[in-house]
Subunit: 251 residues, 2 copies
């Protein structure tokens, strides 16, 4: 059971392939509960301890965030912790460089979903994109999407927009969507708020109503979230999710 | 065939378990050819292109570096390129966060060695070390070492010393060695020259003659290499290897 705030049919204009981000933003910001359901509660510090992972999970269960997003080594811990609260656990794969073999991505996706992960995040193979190996990029995404979907999990593809030129961003987004991504996401790197909102708008422009858009990178305040939702994101990744929902009245 | 400058029996004092780093440093610095054979020629930029990987390989073949170290997606390319020159290809696994599942490490090690990688570098699971899960840390290293050694490859374990307190560094080094590491390595992060040399000395202090010590992180000049060799390293990772051997007269 996914806590995520649902996109309504009225948000989508299938004829024009568009998504009404203003309506979605207004609904998401109408209550802290709605907002929480659009936030990934994220902990990807390499030195994060079990205690920190458990605190993350407790917070996710309390505020009912969209998911907890952790490293593979912590998936079992997180699944055990939040199973009762029906909060999905997400995990990153080949993070953050997107330079894994396709066979490794496949193994990792299968192993993580077997452990109970319901959302998988891979990084687009940026170096292959930049080398013009578009077929290799598509194969990698398609392989991960295939395994994820077989297991009923969602696949997010991080485009690592901070490393891409405009034409590469457009190409990367289109390849990821065609190959089966459920969400595309901007960058793994902290960036300026303006750059993240611009990337969210660009991704929504390419995607229309075809997939979800996640935005993340140094998002710590409600105003940033509002701007990203209005730009077209329907999921926000943050390690400051608790502070953000408190801005909207959560306790 | 590994080009690495060999450690001589006279460098090792097995009775006292020590390694004569002064003798090794003097021999390594006696010619640019010896020096090249102690340098990993490294390219781990996430956006590196095929063209850059091929240039890396051409340089490695020309100067006869100890190995070329690349991301998994470039192992096939590198193996094809340097096979004729008998330069070993190394690959990183679960880089840089050391947060992969053990089953993923096993798959990755097997797949990379099948593609021809002769050196594998994993990152110690730092978050598990910091959580006191020493058994999990040892299992991860042992699993990767087992697969690597079955295939005749070497395993380097990066301790990510930049994230560790002194007692954690000592513990990490001992666990990695006991679990079968052929080399232990300081950090994946650029650090100060002084900090890297101190970590090399610490690792050599723990290891004695039991394994090799790699040092890396912002090494761009011959003087840094000299300090690291004298501190106990017998392999240096750098993306500036060409400039370094040129300082010693290579063309």
């Amino acid at each position: 059971m996914n806590a995520t705030i649902p996109i309504r049919e009225s948000d989508l204009d299938f004829d024009n392939g568009t998504f009404d981000s203003s309506a979605f933003a207004a609904r998401t910001l109408a209550s802290w509960q709605n907002l929480a359901a659009a936030l990934d509660h994220t902990l990807l510090e390499p030195g994060a301890t079990r205690e920190q992972v458990e605190r993350l999970c407790a917070e996710a269960a309390h505020y009912r965030f969209a998911c907890v997003l952790v490293h593979p080594v912590w998936v079992s811990t997180a699944v055990n912790f939040v199973a009762g609260a029906s909060i999905p656990v997400g995990a990153v794969m080949g993070f953050p460089h997107g330079a894994s073999l396709v066979s490794t991505l496949r193994q990792e996706a299968a192993a993580l979903t077997r452990l109970g992960a319901r959302e998988l995040e891979m990084v687009l193979p940026v170096s292959q994109l930049k080398s013009g190996n578009h077929g290799a990029v598509e194969n990698a995404v398609r392989a991960a999407a295939h395994v994820a979907h077989l297991q009923g999990a969602l696949l997010t593809v991080t485009l690592d927009t901070g490393l891409l030129a405009m034409n590469e961003k457009l190409r990367a987004a289109e390849i990821a969507i065609q190959a089966g991504a459920d969400f595309i996401k901007n960058s793994r790197e902290p960036s300026t708020s303006g750059a993240i909102a611009a990337d969210a708008a660009l991704m929504r422009g390419v995607a229309g109503a075809r997939c979800g858009i996640k935005a993340s990178g140094g998002v710590t305040a409600l105003e940033q979230v509002r701007a990203l939702l209005e730009a077209g994101a329907n999921r926000i990744g943050s390690s400051a999710s608790v502070a953000i929902v408190r801005e909207l009245g959560a306790e």
